[in-house]
């Protein structure tokens, strides 16, 4: 894989992290990141939609007329999201009740439309698909960070259940239940967690930039 493509892929994690650096797709992030299960469920759904939408839009980029490109992207993305919603309702109902109305709200997740507009309509299919994977993984990574933080501090334990079969994969108690800070499972904790992590990412990015300037 050539360097440019790999750099682009890596960017989705820290340098251009969609949630903490670009501040896209925040709505669903804060609302559902209360547990590992939710984060993984939402993350995987977004990855699938991102890869498929980037691929399809890239395949069609030469035939979509420029004036109506946004409505066309919207139609493609909504079809993908609605199909995912129906599949989740049928095959992973607990995930459906946990994520609820945030599954259809993936349609307006700025990340997907943003990547379609900024990347997929200008690059080849393989590059676009990879970009979708990179951004999706970056997004999932952010969701996992927030959820682990909130679940451990807010409920004291970390647990994972298979949404298709309801089998509990693990459930570890890290902090005794008397010492949990339940505010982290509610809105206050979500904002604070986000703020701290965003500041953290800003710090890391600033350090990296300083190093680059020193070296380059």
């Amino acid at each position: 894989m050539n360097k440019q493509v790999w750099e682009n892929f890596k960017a989705g994690f820290v340098k251009e992290n969609p949630v903490f650096t670009l501040y896209l797709g925040m709505c669903s992030t804060l609302a559902i990141s209360t547990s590992l299960n939710n984060a993984l469920g939402m993350g995987v759904t977004v990855i699938i939609v991102l890869i498929l939408s980037n691929t399809i839009i890239s395949m069609m980029r030469k035939i979509i007329p420029n004036e109506i490109r946004i409505p066309v992207y919207i139609i493609i993305i909504s079809t993908l999201v609605k199909s995912m919603e129906l599949f989740i309702k049928a095959y992973a109902p607990t995930l459906n009740s946990a994520l609820g109305i945030f599954i259809p709200l993936i349609v307006v997740n700025c990340i997907i439309l943003g990547r379609a507009e900024a990347f997929a309509n200008k690059h080849k299919v393989s590059e676009s698909a990879l970009d979708g994977l990179g951004m999706g993984l970056g997004y999932t990574f952010s969701l996992l960070l927030i959820s682990i933080f909130r679940q451990v501090l807010g409920t004291g334990s970390l647990s994972l259940t298979n949404p298709f079969t309801e089998v509990v994969i693990f459930n570890i108690r890290i902090i005794p239940s008397d010492y949990v800070l339940s505010m982290f499972t509610q809105s206050v904790g979500a904002f604070i967690t986000f703020a701290l992590l965003a500041a953290g990412f800003a710090a890391i990015n600033a350090q990296k930039k300083a190093k680059e300037i020193k070296n380059g």
């Binding site: 501040y23 896209l24 925040m26 709505c27 669903s28 992030t29 804060l30 609302a31 946004i70 409505p71 919207i74 139609i75 909504s78 079809t79 999201v81 609605k82 919603e85 129906l86 109305i101 259809p104 709200l105 349609v107 307006v108 997740n109 700025c110 439309l113 509610q186 809105s187 206050v188 904790g189 979500a190 904002f191 604070i192 986000f194 703020a195 701290l196 965003a198 500041a199 953290g200 800003a202 710090a203 600033a206």
Partner: protein, 191 residues
């Protein structure tokens, strides 16, 4: 009638869409840097949500349901919203070029504002009748505008305050949002 007033207070204050339900954060952080654009954005959002919700509601109950194609709700709602925002954009451009310039790119971005799609979908899943739907569709964006305007006042002060280096900009704004969330959560149990 009492039911409607309760619904209104609940939507504006107690279940505030930004502070309790986390929707509309993108414009919340993006447009709240000064008072004028916050007020303008708030009014635009109220107009869009009210209009788009009524259209989506009618579309769902008079077209999608009778034809048994309820699964087309997502596509049709978002297309209704996109068209309505386009229409609002042209309207504002003609009657208030100043507002148009100050809102800039955030006006077409109302299309991807989670709040709009959320209200359109919630009207259906909560099974509201027409009057309840209208009250809800006016109350939720009013709550959004309320928080947006309060936040813009705070942010104007914050811009000249001594904030730690890496917290400047959005991170400190989020901490302020957390404090506002605590303040608003004190209203729970009001009604």
């Amino acid at each position: 009638m009492g039911n409607l007033i309760t619904m209104c207070i609940a939507a504006v204050l107690i279940n505030n869409i930004v502070l309790t339900q986390f929707l509309g954060i993108c414009p919340f952080l993006g447009v709240s840097r000064n008072k004028e654009s916050a007020i303008g954005m708030g009014l635009a959002v109220i107009f869009v949500i009210f209009g788009a919700s009524i259209l989506s509601y009618l579309l769902y109950y008079y077209v999608l349901e009778p034809m048994n194609i309820e699964y087309m709700n997502l596509i049709s709602f978002i297309l209704v919203i996109a068209s309505f925002v386009q229409f609002t954009e042209m309207f504002i451009k003609k009657y208030s070029p100043v507002l148009y310039r100050s809102l800039g790119i955030y006006l077409p971005l109302i299309t991807t504002n989670c709040v709009v799609l959320f209200v359109a979908l919630a009207n259906i899943t909560s099974g509201y009748n027409f009057v309840e739907m209208m009250v809800y569709s006016l109350s939720v964006p009013t709550g959004f505008m309320l928080v947006l305007v309060i936040f813009s006042y705070i942010r104007e002060r914050l811009a000249i305050a001594p904030v730690p280096k890496y917290f400047k900009g959005n991170p400190v704004a989020l901490i302020v949002a957390a404090l506002m969330a605590i303040a608003f959560s004190g209203l729970a149990g009001l009604v």
